[in-house]
């Protein structure tokens, strides 16, 4: 949340960040909260790197465009498909390779870091695990902050709080 690409702004790649975080959080051995928080912390730079690579690829694609244009001028229209395949392959390789390197490298780093996390800090990571989504809520609130959206947010929160309270009491 808060990473929504609107207009000319090029944000970090949120899907890639999420995929990297899931991959990094999988190795077992320590509590979920510790793994999840450290995995998310390690995954955010991956998303930022993917965003920067996107910029580079869009610059590089200008070359593909010019080559394809020349091919068209030279009556070689079949080159259109080749240019699109090259474009798709570039974006795929960017995401795939980056994710592959990030998960393996990140898993190796976390493999060293995780056993060294003092047990005394586990409680801290549990609290961080609980508040992490709240950071997303706050970031998204900023995006949606209009009067009618704020009203919808309040109604949704109140209705869910009421329903969850009744559910908890019923249990």
């Amino acid at each position: 949340m808060g990473q929504i690409p609107v207009g000319a702004y090029v944000p970090p790649s949120a899907p890639l960040t999420a995929a990297a975080a899931v991959g990094l959080a999988v190795p077992a051995g320590v509590p979920l909260a510790v793994r999840a928080v450290l995995a998310a912390a390690a995954a955010i730079p991956v998303g930022v790197a993917a965003g920067k690579l996107d910029l580079w690829i869009k610059v590089r694609n200008v070359g593909i465009l010019h080559r394809a244009e020349n091919d068209l001028l030279d009556n070689r229209p079949h080159a259109l498909g080749g240019a699109v395949v090259r474009g798709v392959a570039t974006f795929f390789l960017k995401d795939f390779l980056l994710l592959l390197v990030a998960v393996f490298l990140g898993a190796a780093v976390l493999g060293v870091v995780l056993p060294r996390v003092p047990e005394a800090w586990y409680r801290g990571f549990e609290v961080a695990f609980v508040v992490s989504p709240a950071v997303g809520v706050a970031a998204a609130l900023r995006t949606y902050w209009r009067r009618r959206n704020a009203l919808a947010f309040a109604v949704g929160a109140a209705a869910a709080a009421l329903a969850l309270t009744i559910f908890t009491i019923a249990l």
Partner: protein, 258 residues
Amino acid sequence: MTGQLAPRKRTLRLSTRLEMIVRSLFIQATNNYERMLSFGFLFALWPALKFIYPDAESRRRAAIRHLAFFNTQPYFANCILGVVTQAELRGGEDVAGEVASIKEAMMGAFGALGDDLFWAGLMPAAALLALIIYGLAPEYALVGAVAALVAYNGFHLWARVRMFAVGLRLGRHITNYLRLLRLPQFVVTVKVAAAFLLGIFAAVVVWRGGVSASWVVGGVAAAAAVGATAFLQYLRLRPGLCWYFVVAAAVVVGAWIR
């Protein structure tokens, strides 16, 4: 030149239309800073150009003029693709000028509307749906992820096919149809729905805090995190950095109150 001015006036076969829709999925494949989506647009239009201009030279000329700057929201591009295809099919003396004016008139409006509808409305709403399901029942996380993917991709794929078909059928008269759709109001509705889901998710976050720790730790910590993030964003700190600051603070405070 004669070939360019006198294209065949026929309707496209179903296979050609399907090929165009499939090709339109690759409209961003060669997205670039010089002419943005122009090449992807031409790639999607190519089967229609092959049909309309059997003569290689007139087809080449038509293709070159479609490489002019073109940028819009990639899903809404299908609507423009349909309208432009219809103009090319209809032909006429100034088909090049008509096509250029159609693209210029529609790409800006659809760009703004599409960004708001899909990136800022539907995508966060789908993600929130998955998060709410995960928050309520972590064991059904996969169901949440699949539901979000189906909701988002199902809608945008349907919209792409539908908009191409309507654009192709109505041509320039599509503006009347779009007026009836009340798209700006629909965008507002989608964003209100996303805000409503965000409210539900906020309550679920606090509730999960109560389940996994205690209502005091969970609720107060979540509220403190929202306040801290809102403050850091007010200071114009990037969301990623906000996350690091707030989570680091939560780790320290959580370990300290142990």
